[in-house]
Subunit: 110 residues, 2 copies
DNA sequence: ATATATACCTAAGATTGTTAGGTATTACAA
DNA sequence: TTGTAATACCTAACAATCTTAGGTATATAT
């Protein structure tokens, strides 16, 4: 909770990174994973997640496989090759951005 | 350059923190300061900055003093007491958020 | 039975930032 | 002296992103 506002812009990177680590995940699993990883401090809403997954798929970064488990559908997403490259790219961008932010708020010298 | 998208949501915190450090600043100065601090990697657009300054002022976090320098106007902004408290709050939120992000992307255990 | 968890989805609205203008003064170079 | 860049403010249309608030359906526990 607190400042969910800061989270704007980071969702794609979060999703891609989790997929890179886990290999494949489905949407609901991602929401639960993030909740667990952050001890509840960050909640990914489904209204944000599902459109993001669809967009990443449309861009060719993700592939989908639909599986029926307990008579319910799961859509497992995996990274394409392009998705892996883009993940590495977005991750390094995020790391650079975090450093930038820290430099600004701590006023570290250039 | 790179991912300006990540920067969404952080502008208020950046502005407030710079003001806390510097005491008072005017808009144009803030854009230049951020450019310098980040060696050009983060550019605050005026279309984002000025509305943000006006909003923070409307919320009672900033005070304005108009000064004429070289026959040009400068609007110096300073933190109100409420602004100082809010700055501390937003800063700690940002630190927590950065930790959260790092935990997710590095998959650090909870 | 009923509520909660699982699992997907979308649409309206809000927030926030970009793009692309506008005004005006000062400083510097051609 | 004329034009361009820098300084210094501003706004409006658009775009991207997320929240809120629904919807559908099955499984599980009370």
């Amino acid at each position: 909770m607190g400042n969910q506002r800061l989270y704007k812009g980071t969702l794609q990177t979060i999703v891609l990174t989790l997929l890179e680590e886990k290999g494949k995940m489905y949407g609901y699993e991602i929401t639960q994973k993030v909740k667990a990883l952050t001890k509840g401090s960050l909640t990914i809403t489904e209204g944000a997640l599902y459109p993001t997954l669809h967009k990443l798929e449309a861009e060719g970064l993700l592939e989908v496989e639909v599986v029926r488990v307990d008579n319910r559908l799961r859509k497992y997403y995996t990274l394409t090759d392009q998705g892996s490259r883009e993940t590495a790219h977005k991750l390094s961008e995020m790391e650079a951005f975090i450093e930038t932010l820290q430099r600004i708020v701590n006023l570290k010298p250039a």
